[in-house]
Subunit: 253 residues, 2 copies
């Protein structure tokens, strides 16, 4: 039962779609196959049956089966080649570095980060902020500064500017949830973002705040976030203690 062929048959035969569910059939199929792949029931390099056979076995049409396969291709879980077939590509698991990312801290340590609100006020936009947000100078904006910590140690100083009229949430909410979650709740539909990652030395004040010596290397991140109407709804300028934080980025193709 450990060879790819029989493993695949059991994967498909012990499953059937739920036509009463509001979840699309193609999504049900894709999710089931994804579970089979990430749980190694379908091993690295295994060939799947052709899509017509799979569609028949699951009782769906070929286009529906194709839609599911396209989902797996997009997620990077299979590779398809015309005339050859469909092959499983096991996603790589990341070996931890000396520097662990905040994501790792959260998932392995299970410790929620804490946020301290340093500043939250409505001010007229200066030239830099106005240009970033695409507003006229002097327009009212919300200026946030927060200090984020994990395991009792400071990780990042986060500075955000938002147009005054998009912020409808209570300011105290910021301690308990992420900014993006609050924007979504306010009805803002996020569309895209541009982030710039750099590095520079810490000033004395920044060092004190982040628990680093003056001149220590800091990671910097600037971000402009745009909503579906094409309006810039956030300009962020963050500072990370590089000795305790790094960014992990996953790319496909």
């Amino acid at each position: 039962m450990s060879d790819p062929t029989s493993a695949q048959q059991s994967v498909l035969e012990s499953f059937s779609v739920d036509r009463g569910s509001p979840i699309p059939l193609w999504f049900q199929v894709a999710e089931h196959l994804e579970h089979a792949i990430v749980s190694h029931v379908l091993p690295q390099g295994a060939y799947l049956d052709n899509e017509i056979a799979m569609a028949e076995r699951l009782g769906v049409s070929r286009p529906t089966m194709r839609r599911a396969m396209e989902q797996l291709v997009d997620r990077g879980l299979v590779v398809r080649r015309r005339g050859i077939g469909t092959r499983v590509v096991q996603p790589k698991v990341r070996r931890p570095l000396e520097l662990t990312s905040l994501y790792d801290d959260l998932s392995s340590g299970g410790q929620a980060p804490t946020t301290e609100l340093l500043r939250c006020e409505r001010v007229p936009a200066g030239p830099e902020v106005a240009a970033r947000l695409g507003l006229d100078e002097g327009t009212e904006v919300v200026h946030l500064e927060r200090l984020r910590s994990a395991r009792g140690e400071p990780i990042a100083r986060m500075t955000n500017h938002l147009p005054g009229d998009v912020v409808t949430f209570a300011e105290t909410d910021l301690v308990g949830a992420g900014l993006y979650e609050l924007l979504r709740r306010s009805g803002v539909r996020l569309h895209s973002a541009v982030q710039t990652l750099g590095a520079r030395a810490a000033t004395a004040a920044e060092g004190r705040l982040l628990g680093e010596p003056k001149g220590a290397a800091l990671l910097t991140m600037e971000r402009e976030t745009t909503d579906e109407q094409g309006r810039v709804v956030e300009y962020a300028s963050h500072l990370y203690a590089a000795s305790r934080y790094s960014f992990e980025i996953h790319l496909v193709t």
Copy 2:
């Protein structure tokens, strides 16, 4: 002729698909609409006709038209909402998140990069490199070190390790092209990568090489690149002069 409705009509009526071409119909349609959007013929916020009408006007079936629209959604150029319609979202930036090399970034930015090969030799893998590449310790690997400059100033020291058997190109090629381009030419089909971005202070030697004082903030990037067979084909550990280089990352939704 400058209101959205008539602009769209002229966009569609002055175009017809080429059924003799090997290029898929849905791709021809998507490309045509994309050009109309990025050239602002279809302005920000304009509503497109419904997909049935557009399909008729172009003489394709609705599924084919849908495939084209899905492409535009994936590229972030339109937003669709059931019961409402399809709306144009002018992209703020045009570069999708992709697997690029520093060489490609710089040359597309018009800053003719130069590369100096500091080191290129076949050596047995040490413990760290062997673990990263998923090889046994002592397996032969290629060890590269290059110094990349733009406009006559050093930008990055790039250190790469590759399994000895994937490197089929001439070592001198590395001066004229990016490593990824050479891998592709060698028949390696890249699949995905994990990158970790951090920062640290420069040692004296690193500072001399990159034209920075000792202790200056440097950007670090480590990357493991995987091919379609799931093999790690590259482990990179790069060092960037943060005063002259930063990473730009584009995210959609």
